[in-house]
Amino acid sequence: MAADTIINWGLLALEPPGWGGVLLRGLLNSIQIAIGGYAFGLLLGVGGAFGKLYGGPILRDLMECYTTIVRAVPELVLILLLYYAGTDALNHVLNLVGIGTVDISGLAAGIFVIGVVQGAYSTEVLRGAIKAVPAGQIEAARAYGMSPFKVMTRVTLPAMLPYAIPGLSNLWLIATKDTALLAVVGFSELTLVTRQAAGATKAYILFFCAAGALYLALTLVSNVFIKIIERHSRRGFVEQS
């Protein structure tokens, strides 16, 4: 009894008898996937938001289907479906082209899966932000004869940023936490390596709390940066009381 309650901090050592190094590598994997997935999701989101607002009726409906499905089906189910279907489909295509099958790295598949889910969320966030931009600004840009692409890069995107940043920063925090779901498909990110470490040493509480602290640290550090970015993006706005 007493031996179990005294915490064996040596288990968290960075060198191999301890599991600290393994946990940190897991955290690094999680961060990589979160960054990649978030960036991929943002790309999809910009495309989706513009498609939803300015696209033709068919494109608009297809985008609506995409966001509706992602918003109605649990992430875990989507991740399983995309993980298997995505890798399978890619190998099918490669087979048809004649290259043969490739082993898709867990990292790439994870980024793809998280990106598709994040893409739907950021589509909605960005759509709301673009709608908050005063229509006169976009009309003025058009009146100057700017091409639609130039209107987007020079006016719409910069002007919507202050409205989008709160939602987008929440999505970043969600992306970091969604990477934990990849544990279910066997990708060795932080949550899965924690479970392996805990299973091997039977120090469940210690390792899960350590991983929790790492996730929390990631969130809190992100928050510091988010605050800075938010303040920067809102310069020139009237301070709300």
Binding site: M1, D4, P57, I58, D61, L62, T68, I69, R71, A72, V73, P74, E75, L76, V77, L78, L80, L81, Y84, A85, D88, Y121, S122, E124, V125, G128, P166, G167, S169, N170, L171, L173, I174, K177, D178, T179, A180, L181, A183, V184, T191, T194, R195, A198, K202, Y204, I205, F208, C209, A211, G212, Y215, L216, T219, L220, N223, I226, K227, E230
Partner: protein, 278 residues
């Protein structure tokens, strides 16, 4: 503080809400009819060319799994909401130790993944309990099962997210209404019960609905600690039959239907609550 923004923006981006539902008339546009026909053809191909012979055998278990999922959803949402009201209230008016405790709780729970919390409770507490005296208590038959840990984790997570929402809602009730109630001589408890809580819930309702949809989307995680919900039944099908896609497609369809029913129910409820000026 984890809260950098009113959470309702993100909730809406992640969960479908009543205002997203299509109206019946919106389907009768030429391009939509074509799209619907294409979708119907796709569904027909899926039904015709893929393997569904396993379905009748597993149908009763699927029904049981759906019931477990719904039970998880409703029990944890209700319990979580009951916890969220004091969590939100304390953050608005409580003395500072309680305030710090509540906001720290919300930050920690919202800053770590639900899957990790679930595994911490199940594996962590599950490994401690057998060593303590609980084995001989009346609770042991329940604590030996996995579902109490699932309910606990989902409830805590819902309470933390909802507590943040309720904090905003309590703070957002106009001070004049509370002062008017006090001027009528209402006691603190009467004021809370008659004015503050109903007005706060009313303000938080759209976000509450969204959070409940998000809670439904979180329930399949309990399958990772061997609770037999609908997701676990589908996993069993996949293990037994070595079929990859068909069960997952069916699972996605089931969740879409559940979400749809939930959202329609919320629209019905929202329409029944009178709003001034609407």
């Amino acid at each position: 503080m984890t809260d950098v923004t009113p959470p309702d923006v993100t909730t809406h981006a992640m969960a479908i809400l009543p205002e997203d539902l299509p109206t019946a008339g919106s389907f009768f546009k030429p391009h939509r009819i074509v799209l619907l026909l294409i979708a119907a053809a796709l569904v027909f191909c899926i039904v015709w060319f893929m393997r569904w012979d396993w379905l009748p055998q597993y149908l009763p278990r699927l029904g049981y799994g759906i019931v477990v999922t719904l039970a998880m959803l409703f029990s944890t949402s209700i319990l979580g909401f009951l916890l969220a009201v004091p969590l939100g209230l304390v953050q608005v008016t409580g003395p500072w130790p309680l305030k710090a405790l509540a906001s720290g709780f919300c930050t920690i729970i919202r800053g770590t993944p639900l899957l990790l919390q679930l595994w911490l409770l199940y594996y962590g507490l599950g490994s401690i309990f057998p060593q303590t005296g609980i084995r001989h208590s009346f609770l042991w038959p329940y604590l030996r099962e996995s579902w109490p840990y699932g309910v606990a984790a989902l409830t805590i997570s819902f309470a933390a997210y909802e507590g943040e929402v309720m904090r905003g809602a309590f703070a957002g009730v106009p001070a004049g209404e509370l002062e008017a109630a006090r001027a009528y001589g209402m006691s603190r408890w009467t004021l809370f019960r008659r004015i503050w809580l109903p007005r706060a819930i009313h303000r938080a309702l759209p976000t509450l609905n969204g959070e409940t949809v998000l809670q439904l989307k979180a329930t399949p995680l309990v399958a990772t600690i061997t609770v037999i919900d609908v997701y676990a039944v589908i996993s069993k099908v996949r293990q037994d039959t070595y079929i990859t896609y068909e069960p997952l497609l069916l699972l996605a369809l089931i969740y879409m239907c559940l979400t749809g029913i939930l959202v329609v129910a919320f629209r019905y409820l929202e329409n029944r609550i009178p709003t001034r000026g609407a």
